[in-house]
Symmetry: C2
Subunit: 298 residues, 2 copies
DNA sequence: CGATCTTACGGGATTCGTAAACATA
DNA sequence: TATGTTTACGAATCCCGTAAGATCG
């Protein structure tokens, strides 16, 4: 003998309508069916809820005391269902994204801005961390999707999209390299370089590309942060090789960037999720938006 | 496609158990039936709630966001049902009683006290008003039951029990009448009387009884309240005729009461409810207790 | 290969609507 | 008598349990 939402909805509706027939109409139900529902609820509760005869229907004192309790619960439940449906339709929910700091400070803000125009109820939880940490967060399900670097080979992750970030030479406007339209790897040979520290994904790519070209770099400084590298280049310590999209580079008026005429100077970017996990609808939608904004890797 | 409490309970149970089989056992259900319930809920919501394969079951992000919402609503609903059952069983609820002030200040407090020992959750709403007002309150359903005076003839009210209040002579200990064990109507003839004012139910009975016995009363004072009458008797203004149960009389150490040897000196008391109205179970129980405590009228 | 979820299907309980009976102002 | 609730009953639906199938670690 267990409670039934339909019976409670019937009770509330009859109480509001003050009349079985009208309540039945409002519930798209035949009137006898409604009688049965009310009687069933009365049996489960163990008390009469309405005093009724052929001419009038009135709440009993028990019904009067019960109505607000059940009505509140019913409203809560229906609100929860609406919320649930909003999640299901992608009209609401939380996008939990782990991503590289470069991405977080370049394309991401505008992507979020544009997405929220379309889905105002979407919430975002952004973790901007280094590539290895992105993978860890997605694997541990502290994030649902990740924008990570490298040719991530991780069996527990699905790759949803591959993109890339070209690396460019960053130098002062007045530097000799600034006069060239594009730069060969050999141009960097023996030139003082400011590179981000070993362990960063950018550095890994640069090291590999220079080695492949048999260049012997003259590493002047190895800061942790791009912002520091930019400041060092600005003051003439050397030139740097950084992602083209990095905000730190683009925002600096005294510097110019030059493409490197070498396909290995490219940092792969992967959009990943955990294998076997279903994404919330809102997150799927945001993934679509990101894919459109990130150039497909050839 | 509407929400079902059972499906929600299934969702919460699986989330807690982390496993369909154990959840099914806990719900006293076969495991395939549980699969169906979860799938149905997922369809109504429009989103996958668990990522599951043959070895593991885990909430999706959507499920994780939904769980607290639905769980809270479910708990509320089940609490409301428990409350409802408590009403039905008479273990809880409000007794709404309108009664004569005499009753409210004599037998009632002890009745309530004793009843609450048995039903601690019972609440009381007492309106102590004059007899005509008792009837009005019950008729307007501002009270569920009434203790009223007179031979209430009111077609809209059902009489649940008839009782009576004997009227007694009240006089100072030192008064001549105090020496008699019982008093005849004729003893009151020509004696200075302190009677409550016309319009009170007691006065109506006294007037009728004296008239029937062809006594010509010497009315010294006509106060509104019994308390005042008692004070007047105390100071020797006369003797009074008051209900035997009245607290005002019994509490006064300097006075004595003497029965009147005449069956017409009796105030009828009726326990009434509105016709066609079902009483809450707790109120029914209290009615039973009152009936036991109120002598049945012959 | 074994534990566990999913699919398929038959039977039983639930619940609906129609029609007729019933009750009260 | 008219309006509105209750009862009765057949039909459609829902829902469960059993058994067989699929899947992943």
């Amino acid at each position: 003998m267990d409670l039934n939402l339909r019976d409670i909805r019937a009770f509330v509706t009859v109480a509001q309508a003050g009349n079985f027939t009208r309540a039945a109409t409002r519930l798209h139900l035949s009137q006898p069916a409604l009688t049965v529902q009310i009687r069933r609820l009365e049996e489960t509760v163990g008390a009469r809820l309405f005093d009724r005869n052929s001419r009038s229907v009135a709440l009993t004192q028990t019904g009067r005391e019960l109505l607000p309790l059940l009505q509140r619960s019913l409203n809560d439940m229906e609100q929860a269902l609406r919320d649930a449906r909003a999640f299901g339709e992608g009209a609401s929910g939380t996008v939990r994204l782990a991503c590289l700091p470069t991405f977080a400070s370049s394309a991401l803000p505008e992507l979020i801005q544009a997405f929220r125009k379309r889905v105002p109820q979407a919430r975002f939880q952004i973790r901007d961390v280094v590539a290895s940490m992105v993978n860890t967060l997605v694997r541990n399900e502290e994030a649902d999707i990740g924008v990570t670097g490298g040719n991530t080979v991780d069996a527990t992750l699905d790759v949803l999209h591959m993109s890339e970030d070209r690396l460019v030479v960053v130098c002062p406007k007045t530097h000799a390299l600034a006069k060239k339209r594009s730069i060969k790897v050999s141009d960097l040979d023996g030139m003082p370089l400011v590179l981000t520290a070993s362990g960063t994904s950018v550095r890994a790519v640069v090291d590999a590309a220079l080695a492949a070209a048999r260049c012997t770099p003259d590493i002047a400084c190895e800061p942790m942060y791009m912002m520091t590298a930019v400041a060092m280049v600005r003051s003439g310590l050397g030139v740097s090789v950084l992602p083209a999209t990095a905000r730190e580079v683009r925002a600096e008026p005294g510097l110019v960037t030059r493409p490197i005429d070498d396909p290995s100077f490219v940092r792969p970017i992967a959009l990943v999720k955990k294998r076997g996990r279903t994404l919330p609808r809102v997150t799927e939608e945001f993934v679509n938006a990101m894919v459109l904004a990130m150039p497909e890797r050839k």
